[in-house]
C-alpha cells in the first residue's frame, strides 16, 4: 500500500502491513530519560515515532499530554534542544515532529516555516503533524516540506466533511491522522463508533490512514486495524507510563512491553481482517 509521500522512510513504514505509531513528548520528564524512553519504543516495534516538540499552549491536548509538555518545558526543552535530541536519538523508525504552528513559524532568522523545515531535514526528521495548522493556511509549510523531502500529515476529525475534506486530501502526504473521536487526546476505554465511519469517508485517499485518540490496549489496536486502519497512533497511554515513573519495572521496560503489545495488536487486527483487495 504505497501512497503520496515525500519521505521514502515514511512510505516504507506503512508498506509492510499496518503501522504502530507511538507518540512521546521530547524531553519528558528530562532530556536524558526521554532519549531512553523513545529508544525503548523503537525496540518495542514502533514503525513511525511521533515526537512532540512542546509548545506552551497545547490546545489540542488532553490533561495527560499537557502534563508531558509542561514537564518537558520545565526541564528546559526548546526547539534548538529538540533538534539536538533528534540528532542524539538512536532509533530505526522514521520520526515525525508533532508541534504547534507558532514554534515552526518563529524558528530561525527568516520569516516563515522554511528555516524550521530545513533544520528538521538536516537532523533527519521525516515529517510533521501540526494540530493547529488547517489546510487553508498550510501552503508555506507544505511547499517547504516538498522542497526538502518531508511530509505534512493532516488530521481528519469525525466531523470533517465536504470541502474541508477535499482541501485536506489535496494537502496531505505521508499518512493521514484519523481522529477516532471528538475532543482532545487522552485514553478512552472503548473504540469510538465513529472510527469506521471516518475511515469509510477517506477510504479512497492515496495515503495510509492511521487512527489515533484514545487507544491504549492491544485489543483496541486489533479492533481498529481489523476495521480497516493502516496504522494506529498511541500517545496518552505511553505518556501515562512516563508520568508514573519507575516502579517494580522501569519506565523503559514498561514502554517497551506496551509498545510490543500494541504492535502485536495491530498484527492481529491485520490478520483478522478480510484483505482489502478481496472486498466487493
Amino acid at each position: 500500500m504505497t501512497g503520496r509521500a515525500n519521505s521514502a522512510a515514511l512510505a516504507a513504514a506503512f508498506d509492510e502491513g499496518p503501522a504502530f505509531v507511538p507518540y512521546l513528548a521530547a524531553g519528558d520528564p528530562g532530556y536524558d530519560a526521554s532519549l531512553r524512553y523513545v529508544e525503548a519504543l523503537d525496540r518495542g516495534g514502533a514503525d513511525v515515532i511521533e515526537l512532540g516538540l512542546p509548545f506552551s499552549e497545547p490546545i489540542a491536548e488532553g490533561p495527560t499530554i499537557q502534563g508531558a509538555v509542561t514537564r518537558a518545558l520545565d526541564a528546559g526543552m526548546t526547539p534548538e534542544r529538540f533538534f539536538e535530541f533528534v540528532t542524539e536519538l538512536d532509533v530505526s523508525a522514521p520520526l515525525v515532529c508533532m508541534t504547534y504552528y507558532n514554534l515552526i513559524y518563529q524558528y530561525g532568522e527568516r520569516e516563515g516555516p522554511t528555516p524550521f523545515v530545513e533544520r528538521s531535514a538536516a537532523v533527519g526528521i521525516e515529517g510533521f503533524v501540526v494540530p493547529d495548522l488547517p489546510a487553508e493556511e498550510a501552503d508555506p509549510l507544505r511547499e517547504a516540506c516538498d522542497e526538502h523531502g518531508l511530509d505534512l500529515v493532516f488530521i481528519v476529525a469525525p466531523t470533517t466533511r465536504g470541502e474541508r475534506l477535499e482541501r485536506i486530501r489535496e494537502q496531505v502526504s505521508g499518512y493521514l491522522y484519523v481522529q477516532a473521536r471528538l475532543g482532545v487526546t487522552g485514553v478512552k476505554a472503548d473504540v469510538s463508533d465513529r472510527t469506521s465511519e471516518s475511515l469509510d469517508r477517506v477510504a479512497d485517499w492515496p495515503v495510509p490512514k492511521a487512527v489515533g485518540f484514545g487507544i491504549s490496549t492491544g485489543e483496541q489496536a486489533a479492533e481498529i486495524v481489523a476495521g480497516g486502519a493502516d496504522g494506529i497512533i498511541v500517545g496518552s497511554a505511553l505518556v501515562d507510563i512516563v508520568a508514573e515513573g519507575d516502579g517494580e519495572e522501569t519506565v523503559e521496560e514498561r514502554l517497551e512491553a506496551t509498545a510490543r503489545e500494541l504492535k502485536d495488536g495491530t498484527r492481529r487486527g491485520f490478520e483478522q481482517r478480510t484483505p482489502r483487495a478481496e472486498r466487493p
Binding site: 506552551s56 518545558l73 504547534y100 518563529q106 493556511e137 471528538l182
Partner: protein, 417 residues
C-alpha cells in the same frame, strides 16, 4: 449588522483559523450563522438582539461630559458609560449576542473562558436569561483574584471550572475552553470573550461591541456638535477597543488610542519567559495564538509568555487581529500605562467624578492624565466597566505602593473581616 458582507478571515496578514481540525466544522457552522443572522438579520436576529440589549442590558448608555476632569485638563472629556451595562462592563454586548446566536443555531449548551470574570459573569447572565446550561473555565489564580465574580457566575446557575495549567490565568482558560469545545462542538457554542480567536470571532465580537461607537458617534455630535479629536479605550483582547473605535475608523480626523497595560515594566524577561506587562501591541510580535495570527507576547522560540497587569482583564498575551492590523496601518496608536498610573487614575476618577472604574478602564484614564495636552479639544474615553469586582485588588495593590491621592487603605484591612 455593521459592515455589509465582509466575511474574509483576515485583516491584512492577521487573523485566520489556526485551530484543531475537530473545531473546524463548528467554526464553519458559526461563520455561516454569523453571515446569515448577524450580517443578514435572518429571522430578525439583529432586531431581537437590539431589543434584548435595550431591555435586558439597559442600552442606549449615556455619553456623559465629565465636568471635573474637563476642568482639570482644560479639554472636553466625555465618558462613554459602558460601566452602566447590566453586569457592569461592556462584556454583555458580546455575550448576549453570542448566546442569542447559539439559540438561533439550535445549540444546547454554552461554554466560555474568563479572566477578570467579567466575560464569565456576562455570559452566565446571558445564559440564564436565555435558558442555557453554561460552564465557565477560569484560571485558578484568577478565581482567587476575582472571587465575587466567581460567586456571581455560580449564582446565575453556571458551573465554574478551575483551570490549574500554567499560571492559572486567561491564556490557560482559553486553551482549556477550546479543548472542551473540541469534544462538544456539535451541541455546544463557545462564547469567546474578546475580538480574539479564529475567524469569525474577531469580526463577530467586534460587530456586537460596535454598538458602543455607533451610539457614541451619534451622541458626541449631538452633545459637542462635532466629532471628537481623540477616542481612548483600554485594550486587553481588544473587544471594547474595537467596539469603541469601529464607527470612528473611517473618520480620519479622529485619533484612536488603544491603551495597553504597561504593568510594572515594558521590558521582558526572555530567560524566564515572563513579560511584566500585557502590551502585545506595543511590545509583542507577529505570531499565532489561540486560533489567529496576531501580535503576541512570546519569547524568541515562539513560546507564549506569561503576561502581567494589575488588572486581570488586561492580563493576556495576545490581542485581536483587527486591532493589530489597524496598528500596523497607523490608524490606531498603541500606548501603554503602567500599574501605578492606572491605580492613580482609578482613585482620581472615583473621587472626582463619582465613578469607580474597573482597573482595566483606569488605564485609559491614566493615559488621559499623562497626555491630555496632546489629545485635542474633545476627547471620548470609554468607561469599559465598573470597579466593584476590583475592590479587594485595589486595597491590596494600593497598600503595597505609594499611590498619589488614594485614601488611606489601612482602615479597611480590619473592617468587616
Amino acid at each position: 449588522m455593521s459592515s455589509g458582507t465582509e466575511s474574509e478571515a483576515k485583516f491584512g496578514e492577521y487573523g485566520g483559523q489556526f485551530v484543531p481540525e475537530a473545531l473546524m466544522p463548528a467554526i464553519e457552522e458559526l461563520t455561516d450563522a454569523y453571515e446569515r443572522y448577524v450580517l443578514g438579520n435572518e429571522d430578525g436576529f439583529v432586531d431581537e438582539f437590539r431589543e434584548r440589549l435595550a431591555d435586558f442590558g439597559g442600552r442606549p448608555l449615556p455619553l456623559q461630559r465629565a465636568d471635573r476632569l474637563s476642568e482639570r485638563y482644560d479639554t472636553d472629556v466625555y465618558l462613554k458609560r459602558e460601566d452602566l451595562l447590566h453586569g457592569g462592563a461592556h462584556k454583555l454586548n458580546n455575550a448576549l449576542g453570542q448566546v442569542l446566536l447559539a439559540k438561533y443555531m439550535g445549540k444546547e449548551r454554552i461554554i466560555a473562558e474568563t479572566g477578570a470574570g467579567q466575560h464569565g459573569t456576562a455570559t452566565a447572565m446571558a445564559a440564564a436569561h436565555l435558558d442555557f446550561p453554561c460552564e465557565i473555565y477560569m484560571g485558578e489564580r484568577d478565581i482567587v483574584r476575582q472571587r465575587p465574580n466567581v460567586f456571581r457566575m455560580r449564582l446565575n446557575g453556571s458551573e465554574v471550572n478551575p483551570v490549574s495549567a500554567g499560571r492559572g490565568t486567561l491564556k490557560e482558560a482559553i486553551s482549556e475552553t477550546m479543548r472542551d469545545w473540541a469534544a462538544s462542538v456539535e451541541t455546544t457554542h463557545y462564547v469567546i470573550g474578546s475580538v480574539v480567536g479564529p475567524h469569525p470571532f474577531p469580526r463577530m465580537v467586534r460587530d456586537f461591541q460596535a454598538v458602543i461607537s455607533e451610539e457614541a458617534r451619534e451622541q458626541i455630535q449631538r452633545k459637542a456638535g462635532r466629532l471628537p479629536d481623540s477616542v481612548l479605550a483600554c485594550a486587553g483582547g481588544g473587544s471594547n477597543t474595537m467596539g469603541t473605535f469601529h464607527h470612528f475608523v473611517p473618520d480620519d480626523e479622529v485619533a484612536l488610542y488603544a491603551v495597553e497595560a504597561g504593568g510594572s515594566s515594558l521590558s521582558v524577561d526572555e530567560e524566564r519567559g515572563v513579560a511584566p506587562n500585557s502590551a502585545s501591541l506595543s511590545t509583542g510580535s507577529d505570531g499565532v495564538l489561540h486560533g489567529a495570527r496576531t501580535r503576541i507576547l512570546q519569547d524568541r522560540d515562539g513560546q507564549i509568555m506569561e503576561s502581567h497587569s494589575v488588572s486581570s482583564g488586561l492580563d493576556y498575551a495576545g490581542v485581536g487581529p483587527e486591532l493589530a492590523h489597524l496598528v500596523d496601518t497607523g490608524r490606531v496608536t498603541p500606548v501603554t500605562v503602567d500599574d501605578v498610573s492606572a491605580l492613580e487614575a482609578f482613585h482620581r476618577l472615583s473621587q472626582e467624578e463619582g465613578i469607580i472604574p474597573a482597573l482595566e478602564t483606569a488605564h485609559a484614564f491614566g493615559y488621559l492624565h499623562e497626555n491630555h495636552t496632546d489629545l485635542g479639544e474633545v476627547v471620548i474615553v470609554n468607561v469599559s466597566g465598573r470597579g466593584d469586582k476590583d475592590l479587594e485588588s485595589v486595597i491590596e495593590e494600593t497598600s503595597e505602593r505609594e499611590i498619589d491621592g488614594a485614601p488611606a487603605m489601612d482602615v479597611f484591612q480590619g473592617v468587616g473581616r
